[in-house]
Subunit: 475 residues, 2 copies
Amino acid sequence: MNLLEALQSTVGATHVLTGPDAAPFLTDWRGRYKGQAIAVVRPADTEQVAQVVRLCAQQNVPVVPQGGNTGLVGGATPDESGRAVVISLSRMNRVRSVDTDNDTLTVEAGCILQTVQETARNANRLFPLSLAAEGSCTIGGNLATNAGGTQVLRYGNTRDLTLGLEVVTPQGEIWNGLRGLRKDNTGYDLRDLYVGSEGTLGIITAATLKLYPLPVARCTALLALDSVPAAVALLSRARTGFGASLTGFELMSAACLELVTRHYPQQRLPLAGPVEQHGWYALLELSDSESETHARERFEAVLGAALEDGLVQDAAIAENLAQSHALWHLRESIPLAQAEEGKNIKHDVSIPISRIADFVATTDDLLQQHFPGVRNITFGHLGDGNLHYNVQGPIGEAEPALLARQDDIYQLVHDSVHAFDGSISAEHGVGQLKRDELTRYKSPIELQLMQRIKMALDPQGIMNPGKTLQDATHI
Amino acid sequence: MNLLEALQSTVGATHVLTGPDAAPFLTDWRGRYKGQAIAVVRPADTEQVAQVVRLCAQQNVPVVPQGGNTGLVGGATPDESGRAVVISLSRMNRVRSVDTDNDTLTVEAGCILQTVQETARNANRLFPLSLAAEGSCTIGGNLATNAGGTQVLRYGNTRDLTLGLEVVTPQGEIWNGLRGLRKDNTGYDLRDLYVGSEGTLGIITAATLKLYPLPVARCTALLALDSVPAAVALLSRARTGFGASLTGFELMSAACLELVTRHYPQQRLPLAGPVEQHGWYALLELSDSESETHARERFEAVLGAALEDGLVQDAAIAENLAQSHALWHLRESIPLAQAEEGKNIKHDVSIPISRIADFVATTDDLLQQHFPGVRNITFGHLGDGNLHYNVQGPIGEAEPALLARQDDIYQLVHDSVHAFDGSISAEHGVGQLKRDELTRYKSPIELQLMQRIKMALDPQGIMNPGKTLQDATHI
């Protein structure tokens, strides 16, 4: 029996895809990466995943796990050799249990993030992970990449929301680590090692996740600011004034909102005067466990004081849900407006919050020195130190001119990030996109520690090879 | 030059202790474990730690890292062979930096926890880790054991408070992972692997830790309850009603408080009637970011409703700081009152909160069946699912009779913990005490994964051998 037949006999012939059926699984959704595979296999349960991995391990065939295929770094696309088997977790989409007294739920890797959110809400609980792809990404992919999103300031990244995991090892064994415990000091933290390892150490098949009480009320405001240092000072004040109720603090330059309002004229800022009147804008969100009235009073007290002190230049507090959505819509439209404006170069970086203002000023200057006329479209989750430091070409310049300089711009920005003790991948992961760049910024000792772990857990090197790490020279 | 001379030349002769000078470092503070060592070495900085480890590695000499020596599982005591070198981090006690805009500080491993707390407070920030030994334990020890304490419900364990680490590897190399970033998805999570690994994978020499705003007001209350299920229901209600302001939820049986008030008659419950009138008591703490008035009103609203609904039988809210301290003092006196009462057997366990009531009922019954007359002294951090499920001998029985049955009682309780999907070490770690028991409850695959990591990072097996894991048969 050859491998294909063995796979068919394991998961059923209809769940082993080849030819045109396999095609959607062999490229990422943006079409940046294309690969080939022996087959795409869709197991029904953890035991089948383990059997498929054992079959592949026996023949030294690489395995590429895949969730919703919504990643941004090519982490779920096989290489072009055609040697690999893609394992899609999409059929493993059951909610195994909800435990409201323990504030946990246990779901399979193929669950769509939105299903996890809705399952929590139906149990009168919040699962806080929230991001643009939530309607199609899977929780397994979120775990594999330690996804971030809009609620990290209060609730942390996917790692922070995870209590337990079930994992199929590269040897096709099943580790049942589905613990619903908030305290467990019985050995090495395998859970956090698998989270964020992009399928290179094993396949996450299920997880036990934390739930939170649903907030009773939310408030949203758009604030006009003079500068990035003013935004940093406001963040500090908001953290003190709102405590854990502060659930969102997004920063946007005037250039971002100018793009949005120009390309989508139906969208307007609820503030007097033109967008360019102020240099920067912040979107704040408060989640309250008490009441609408309390949330509103508190919001007005802290923001009112910031206005009086001159830290904030102007402010608009959403009066209702529709206005709140409109404010978030401004923020969420920035990437779309950028695409309307033309090709651009994206950087998903993080910087210690105390150095963000210097980073922006210094990097803006360096860019102008080396690439005169390029436009900064800078926004991001300031509360997490996470900037989407994006670069648009000079006005009137043809797009190919910018793209020709893409690698040089990447390097200039990432060198600057490194100089400011930042990270070149805040929330998107490494995958194929940043694998080689990692070797430029990580210390040799850190890369060596990672290689040692990879070789210890996957000595055959069959788990998602070529992602996160360069292939090691096996000893 | 022999090893001792080489060590002296590295750190200075006065910092290489032998004979009686070394004695305090060769036993744990409770005197449960005693060991021997070639010497106790006290390096001044990270580079010296690295040099000492390199010297030891060259001669295949085991290394035992030690902080404040306040652990409860023998994790910092060398074995009796006398082959090891103890590395005390106590001289490495500098605060390297405080960054209020980034809400982080960077400290060396030998910093006393209380110093870290005070440094934060002087910067108008909270470092929330808090536990009984805070006046003498070091942050390095807290990191090595992933210490818990009284604020876990809101702020998490030591791991959750850590952003970056500096580590000396078993090869004597220095990994500088002192990042102050809340988002960084550039590879494997080495940080969380070192945290909680009890010095068996490397020596943590410094850490970048998270800071929080100081609460503006705190409220404390003692509540009388009928049962453990009532306590679990109250916890759920408090989490919803107080959100992230709920910073403490401690559970105590009436037997605990009976012991305290009998041995320390100056301590009284601020409730009418005898202690035994109610079966259980809860100590709640609310930390507010707004005002005393707001905290008080909110506390009274939620607790008042619980009283009205019959979920709470009686309640006393502290009127001032002195009364609040008196309530916490009742809770903190339980272990002392237990010691006054006589020898007892302690279990530091965690259980999913939804199963805690069943666990207590079932295990209490089992104990009575097998060890008639033993007394349960059950208390703990209910909000974290963490119970100190302690067992006192029958009234009037001589202590040796209890201690003779210690291992049988351990096994009965830990078997029950395992049956309820719990952990046999919630916050104290494994060390020597629970190393062999781990093999009874962990799956072979999990033990094997841990051994693979140990062998990958410490192939010589010189880092704190015999702790956490049994010695592996090296391949």
